[in-house]
């Protein structure tokens, strides 16, 4: 039962990633593309956790933690760039 649930969840999240990629490609403005990238980060955290569950290995959470940290930092750097036109003031 669990392996079927993991595969179903993987399917849903891959659909979500495809939709985000679509928004990343067509997104009319730059901020739209930033939202798409941010959502892709969050979806990939879920995908890595699912991979860890599928392989039964508890050490994948470190990758997920790193992606969460880097995703937040990169989103705020992009936003700062749009707000000021400069990353470091």
């Amino acid at each position: 039962m669990l392996s079927y649930a993991i595969l179903t969840a993987c399917g849903f999240i891959c659909c979500a990633l495809a939709l985000n990629a679509w928004r990343l490609i067509i997104g009319p403005t730059t901020p739209d593309r930033i939202i798409a990238v941010d959502t892709m980060y969050i979806n990939s955290i879920a995908l890595i956790i699912l991979l860890g569950l599928y392989q039964g290995s508890a050490s994948y959470y470190e990758g997920a933690l790193l992606i969460a940290l880097l995703g937040f930092v990169s989103t705020s750097a992009f936003c700062k760039y749009l707000l000021r036109g400069d990353i470091i003031e």
Partner: protein, 121 residues
């Protein structure tokens, strides 16, 4: 692993992934920038939270001791998701993205762009 726990983990996984899918559909479907911002900001916390709780239960049973590591990630996301949404909204306001035509109180967006109070001229 008992059947009951396995069922709980499976339901949480499917529920979390459905929530994330709904958020991404909202991102793809909504008409303008600010409405698009709503969907990922809300679904990311609950969706990843459900999947992480499922993973926490699974590994606590499998390793035989209590495992809170995934809870750290969900706490981190709970703190950062609204901050990221706020910064994205500020960036969109600064970029002067187009709004949906029937958005009410569009004059407030100009006030917010200038950091003024609404009754200031």
């Amino acid at each position: 692993m008992t059947v009951f726990l396995e069922a709980v983990v499976s339901v949480l996984l499917v529920l979390g992934s459905i929530v994330m899918l709904v958020g991404s559909i909202g991102l793809a479907k909504f008409p303008d920038y600010f409405t698009r911002l709503h969907a990922p900001a809300k679904s990311s916390t609950l969706g990843v939270g459900c999947i992480l709780i499922a993973s926490m239960i699974f590994f606590s049973v499998q390793l035989g001791h209590v495992n809170f590591k995934e809870a750290l990630i969900s706490m981190f996301l709970l703190i950062t998701a609204p901050v990221a949404a706020h910064m994205l909204a500020k960036a969109g306001l600064h970029y002067k993205v187009n709004m949906k035509d029937n958005t009410q109180n569009q004059q407030l967006a100009k006030k917010a762009y200038l950091h003024q109070s609404p009754d200031e001229k």
